[in-house]
Symmetry: C2
């Protein structure tokens, strides 16, 4: 995403004007303000320069904060963050089957902890998609006034591009496509790597695609087996159009179709991506026992469906950034959605620019998103670095009941949290918990908590005991700070609102209390997980909390919610308290929680 594309008329200017406190402001922004700028200066001093930053050795940023440090403030343990500087969209995601390594690149500003030009591709690797090593800048823009904007990587095993010779193994013939952005033009560049993705050579005849537009970006390329062509999706951002091009040699691209004016439009389209996703049909439907099943959306029994991912910013109905998706079919030239509905990948505030990995094993479709929101990303209270990615997710498509009377094909997300570098420090499992309205179940997760938790809760709602509409009938999980439990993250479900809530507003952190774009509460509708043998509805949530980010997966991933939250430095989540607003309505069938740590 190009910050400067947010509003051409308001585009980022030159010298900053320092902000003073307003005598009449109850909560001055000064702390938040000065932190950002002072740090910026500090990072520049230690930072790499445009010319230096594209060398591999420099890219390692040995002078910067290590990727993992138990005492490094709010830095997540299993969410990719840059060692230092600014990060936004994930780029060039691919799996190297030769080296068995996952590669993630990202929009990177090594010279400040906020977005700015020159903008690079940063680079990180992982053996398990859970624990990451950051390597710093991998691709540099053409000059200090331009940016190597978002794009993707493919494996040109058959050397259709001619960029390679036999000295490069087929599985490591890595070609990157990205948008070279400058003040007047956004054109598409190609670069290739001869060292497994750590450094890149520019294609000598760049750009490979230039239509003279200044709002034309984010190439996602993949190989379409059926038509034996390379396919590139690009956003004509301000025309709300995804253009689909094809090529035989990765150099010459032919426009095949436009996918235009679908879904929520907002200000502009960004980061489109078309992925082939496995359809799973052998899972029982969630509420069929409660209603008739009529598959109202296209389901031709195909083994795979094509999913078009699309990012919108600004202009999310919830404010700022949002990631949409469309399920349909693709014939190599045209994408045909199953219907005209607008569907959202993640209902939290902090999930944007989702991209899927090239060459993931077993035909899996695995993706990572940027876990922040352009409404407030520049002000989040981290210092040496800013922004993290989401955890990796494995996507499938399944028939699903959004309500008792329809069945739709729906995107499912399964988080990937599995590393030999992780150990379980505390484990707790409880079953058949009845909670009185005047009690709380309290669990201490240990004072050695590093802020990484995984939990699953499954609960039943006793319809015959549901209180009147005027009673607030909630089941709440209060995740409390280990140093100060007056700071907490509250999650819960309420019967009469029939929804789930995340409340991240209970903290002493100035940014949370003061920034008028950072809202405290997200709520979303969740459908029943299944109907129990006793006919009562059962709900399920699986959550991962990693220091300053929580990712929730409802009903095995039929909907998700990713949100940043901030407690005071070092006050990681160290306990959980479960309460019920009313008597006899909720039975917690299972509650399981793990406190995890890096070895």
């Amino acid at each position: 995403m190009a910050f400067s594309s947010l509003k051409k008329s308001d585009s980022v200017g030159s010298t900053p004007h320092r902000k003073q406190n307003h005598p009449n402001k109850r909560k001055p922004f000064s702390k938040m303000q000065l932190l950002g700028s002072a740090l910026g200066a500090l990072v520049i001093a230690a930072g790499v320069t445009a010319s230096q930053s594209n060398s591999r050795s420099r890219g390692k940023n040995t002078d910067s904060q290590p990727q993992f440090n138990a005492s490094s403030g709010t830095r997540p343990l299993v969410h990719l963050t840059p060692n230092k500087g600014w990060m936004n969209d994930p780029n060039g995601l691919f799996y190297d089957s030769e080296a068995s390594i996952w590669h993630a690149y990202y929009q990177y500003n090594p010279n400040d902890n906020v977005w700015g030009l020159p903008l690079y591709w940063g680079h990180a690797t992982s053996e398990d998609l859970t624990v990451w090593e950051d390597h710093g800048a991998a691709i540099a823009p053409q000059n200090d006034e331009s940016g190597a904007f978002s794009g993707s990587i493919i494996i040109d095993a058959n050397n259709t591009s001619g960029f390679f010779n036999d000295s490069t193994k087929p599985a490591q013939r890595i070609v990157a496509f990205y948008t070279e952005h400058n003040a007047t033009t956004e054109s598409q560049y190609a670069a290739y790597s001869l060292d497994g993705g750590f450094t890149f050579e520019q294609y000598e005849h760049n750009p490979v695609l230039d239509i003279g537009s200044d709002q034309f970006r984010d190439p996602k390329v993949f190989w379409h087996e059926e038509s034996e062509r390379w396919v590139m999706t690009l956003a004509l951002s301000q025309e709300y159009t995804i253009q689909i091009f094809t090529s035989e040699n990765l150099k010459d691209w032919e426009l095949q179709s436009n996918f235009s004016h679908h879904g929520i439009l907002g200000y502009q389209y960004e980061c489109p991506g078309l992925a082939k996703v496995r359809v799973e049909r052998d899972i029982p439907l969630n509420v069929t026992s409660n209603g008739k099943t009529n598959l109202t959306t296209q389901d031709d029994g195909a083994e795979y469906k094509w999913v078009m991912f699309l990012s919108i910013n600004p202009g999310s109905p919830a404010g700022g950034s949002v990631n949409e998706y469309f399920i349909g079919d693709f014939d190599g030239k045209t994408f045909t959605p199953q219907d005209s509905a607008a569907r959202i990948v993640d209902h939290g505030k902090d999930f944007y620019a989702l991209q899927t990995f090239t060459n993931a094993p077993n035909g899996d479709t695995i993706g990572i998103a940027w876990a922040s929101n352009w409404d407030y990303c520049a002000f989040v209270p981290t210092e040496a670095w800013k922004s993290s990615m989401s955890i990796a997710r494995n996507f499938t498509v399944r028939p699903y009941n959004p309500n008792p009377q329809s069945t739709e094909l729906n995107l499912y997300s399964t988080p990937i949290l599995n590393s030999t570098d992780l150990q379980t420090k505390r484990y707790l499992k409880k079953s058949s918990l009845e909670i009185g309205a005047d009690e709380a179940l309290k669990y201490n997760l240990g004072n050695d908590a590093q802020g990484l938790l995984e939990f699953t809760a499954t609960w039943k709602v006793n319809g015959s005991s549901i209180p009147s509409v005027g009673d607030f009938a909630d089941l709440s999980f209060w995740f409390t700070g280990k140093e100060d439990d007056d700071e907490y993250l509250r999650l819960g479900y309420a019967v009469n609102a029939a929804g789930f809530f995340v409340d991240r507003g209970n903290t002493d952190v100035d940014f949370v209390n003061d920034n008028p774009f950072f809202n405290n509460r997200q709520t979303q509708n969740i459908e029943t997980y299944k109907i129990g043998t006793d006919g009562l509805p059962i709900y399920k949530v699986h959550g991962i909390i990693d220091r300053n980010i929580i990712e929730l997966f409802f009903n095995d991933g039929s909907s998700t919610s990713t949100n940043l939250f901030f407690l005071s430095d070092g006050n990681y989540i160290g306990g959980v308290e479960i309460t019920a607003g009313v008597e006899g309505v909720f039975t917690i069938l299972d509650f399981e929680i793990k406190q995890l740590a890096r070895k």
Copy 2:
């Protein structure tokens, strides 16, 4: 909207279970809880019964709180509220051209201040769409376990129904259509009025339409001149389908088409409505001087477009309830949208179930929405009554630039605030205000403030002075309580987020601080109002604040935001303070504010 349709599995039960405080809860819900229930009991005691409530005299509710009372807590002055009890969707909106009276009906529970069965149609009238008189219940359900759910009213001037004779003037041949809801069925009923809309007779052969569904509701009927037929739109709620029926006699209805799986789906479709809306083309485009104009959506130069309104609950991307719209064409049988985009009528949290008036003069399309959200409507801190309607809005369709590179047909909303019962107590107009980063412009709106304000602000952004991304560069309007200015409503625009925010979280009211579904901040993208002669972007907002509700209209109504807010009892907005986060970026071209009062 049917509360019980929220979740069949979680539907409203019998005896309430009182909620206790949790010893570990920082902010117990007790106050909010007990208020709702205690009041419920109180209202029941004084309330009308199912059998009594359908008589006109009883309907006047002489025992209840008057519609206007300067000291009646947070009751708005120019937003329709029920004298007592519960209100949700607007129903049966029409203009009586014979008596020159506007009629608004609404979903009404006279027996409690929360939703519940039996549910009635309440009734209110106005001479100016600004000041309302409530008359209590007008249509009763069949029994105490059923509800007269949402619907509409038409004028059967030519007596196509045969319900009337010459004793009823053509302009007052009023026929209501609504959904009779019971535990097993939702079918469509007709009723007619022989006394100008105050009482109704049931059609003897009801229902007029019953397809055996329990999720089939909210009939909106209108006369389609071109095909000389009555048209009814209905929601097959859980199948995400709007069904379009036609009739010649208002009794026999024939299915013509389905409008299915468009826009945001959420849990279900509700309150569809098709309206013929005037297209205005003689207004200069907002940012054309800043980019090319290419009308990317259908614009055939027609004088009118057809707009399909649709309500979704739960499942708004922002949480809970939301109102969508689609612009297109209608041939009397089928609605064809201009594209597959999902567009939202109002970006606030409190705007739902929008309905347009039948028979508005001059071919105007005027509508009213319910100004609350099912996520928290049962808990808002009002007592004798709960919920208000939005202010009436006049809708048009205009070409508009959502960004510099596209032009779309877009819905525009103009608020109607004009009554001889209103007087201006204070008036202030300022021009060309430059605000330093270390100063605040403070205006006292008077200690006699009754909480009703109208304001307009137009400001310019000086692109050459825009600070770095790391600075929070806001223009903020702090509307402060007259009794306690530590309680305030904050609105503003921030350059680097390129968005507008509403912060309603700065209050001592327990509901606001405690209810996890009531979020503090809404943000939205707003496009430039126009480009000044100096090439700088200009933004504009017009606002109406009425005690506990604020409605914002951006750029003459290209987007709007309606939100409830709650200060302590009697602490109406009495002052405004304007601040700028940075030096030299913002120039307020005009700021105009009126403190209004009821005579």
